[in-house]
């Protein structure tokens, strides 16, 4: 593993459209970039056994998640010619309709940004120790399972 600084990916609360806009605007000076790919995960108001999910409460084993994310980040950077990679995941209670995951990759030509973004989303869901607790309107809950 390289000596690069381990970046924090965790954000308390939802990821706002304004935050995303600022992140996009920050790339206006990077005139070598030709394509950006973004994935956003949004909390769904699923109906489960007749009850509606009103929010998901996210917790993580932060230290392990950040180590793992660092490893994934390095692997993706060495696999694809990317200009930039930004990843943010919410912690705490995120209401249905709010954004809880933001993955943002950029490259000279579109293909690496698109492929890296997709691969990051898959790896984040499979490999990061993060847990979502689905909170129902009546305050009962169940633990989310990724399919």
């Amino acid at each position: 593993m390289s000596e690069k600084k381990i970046k924090n990916i965790f954000v308390a609360g939802p990821i706002t459209p304004d935050f995303i806009a600022k992140s996009i605007a920050n790339h206006g000076s990077k005139t070598g970039i030709g394509g950006h790919s973004i994935f956003m995960g949004q909390v769904r108001m699923d109906e489960i056994d007749g009850k509606l999910v009103s929010a998901i409460d996210y917790t993580a084993y932060e230290a392990l998640a950040l180590n793992k994310m660092h490893e994934i980040r390095e692997e993706i950077f060495s696999k694809y010619p990317l200009s930039c990679m930004h990843i943010h995941h919410s912690l705490g209670e995120i209401t249905a309709g709010e954004i809880c995951l933001f993955v943002f990759t950029s490259s000279k030509h579109r293909k690496p940004a698109i492929d890296a973004c997709n691969e990051l989303v898959e790896r984040i869901k499979a490999e990061l120790p993060i847990w979502g607790k689905e909170i129902f309107a009546d305050s009962s809950h169940q633990w989310k399972e990724n399919i």
């Binding site: 993580a60 995941h89 120790p129």
Partner: protein, 77 residues
């Protein structure tokens, strides 16, 4: 030997974070047996262990003040 136990997600509802003092438990396999005896519900659950922030892929030796995390399947994103 003192071992710190932390748990996450569904499993955090089954047990509190705690530091246990145990003897005769030298590796993660033995610790797993110890925990499943203490918390029988654990036997029915899918989970992974992490030893000092590294996921346990195969049986690993334990030493005093190690930290073991008990993690159900991940559901981020």
């Amino acid at each position: 030997m003192h071992i710190e136990i932390i748990s996450f997600g569904k499993i955090s509802e089954l047990m509190d974070n705690q530091t246990i003092e145990i003897e005769g438990v030298g590796n993660t396999d033995e610790l797993q047996q110890y925990l499943e005896k203490k918390y029988p519900a654990l036997k029915e659950m899918k989970y992974k262990l992490a030893l000092n922030k590294n996921i346990v892929q195969q049986n690993a030796q334990l030493k005093n003040h190690d930290c073991i995390a008990i993690m159900p399947p991940f559901s981020g994103g």
